[in-house]
């Protein structure tokens, strides 16, 4: 009954990386078409890890990776919603 299902819908987001996340992914930012059915940040991370070793290395220890949706801190279970800029970075060491 999925025979008539349309091609998976996608939406375009900007991903940005900082510190050693940036180094491991290999770019400071990228614009990607992600599956529209990715519900949460954790879903997005799971999907990214299928895209290559650089992402696998960057997210090897998911527990320490922090995220932000449109420049606001967000937990892994947070809904992506309509966020256009999604950031990943290590725990902060400013101040």
């Amino acid at each position: 009954m999925n025979a008539t299902a349309p091609l998976a819908a996608t939406r375009t987001v900007k991903l940005v990386y900082f510190a050693w996340m940036r180094e491991r992914v290999g770019v400071p930012s990228e614009t990607l078409d992600i599956p529209a059915d990715l519900a949460t940040i954790a879903d997005l991370v799971r999907w990214l890890k299928t895209r290559g070793e650089n992402y696998e290395a960057a997210f090897a220890n998911e527990a320490v990776v922090r995220a932000a949706l449109d420049q606001v801190h967000a937990k892994p279970h947070a809904a992506l919603g309509s966020a256009r800029e999604i950031a990943f970075f290590p725990p902060m060491t400013g101040g």
Partner: protein, 152 residues
């Protein structure tokens, strides 16, 4: 009271900030300020490189400042954080809280620093005196604990 938030490479001057804040008014009785400096006890550091998330750094510090303003009767609040290369002995960050009385000013400055440490998107990396690039500074569990104090 509009918090002043600046993310800049240039150094800052604490006295100038206090003068700007208190000029022409006589309602401020207490100003508490914090300055974080680049340490190098081992003598092996050439500089700290501070990477930040432009836009979010300002926005997140502004959010912390608004929380402080909601908790304490503040008459002024300034937060300045540098990015780029900062050498040992140089200033990295400044927070300044002004109020009629000292208790609010002390607590607000303390609160600002605890949250700035755990929430402001900045990351430090070491540049060693021998010319090599050091690792990224690791976050301290104690910083999370310090921020957690304010939720009790």
């Amino acid at each position: 009271m509009t918090p002043i938030i600046r993310i800049q490479h240039e150094d800052f001057d604490l006295s100038d900030e206090i003068a700007a804040l208190s000029y022409g008014r006589a309602d401020i009785g207490a100003v508490v300020s914090f300055i974080g400096l680049c340490r190098d006890e081992a003598g092996t550091l050439a500089a700290l490189e501070l990477e930040h998330y432009p836009g979010m750094a300002e926005a997140e510090i502004a959010r912390v400042a608004c929380e402080a303003a909601a908790r304490w009767p503040l008459l002024g609040l300034v937060a300045i954080h540098r990015y780029g290369l900062v050498r040992p002995g140089e200033q990295i960050v400044m927070v300044l809280a002004a109020s009629a009385h000292r208790r609010a000013a002390f607590e607000a400055a303390d609160f600002m620093m605890d949250y700035l440490k755990t929430r402001a998107p900045f990351w430090k990396r070491e540049h060693r005196a021998d010319g090599t690039l050091g690792g990224w500074v690791e976050a301290k569990a104690g910083d999370d604990d310090a921020a957690e104090r304010w939720n009790r």
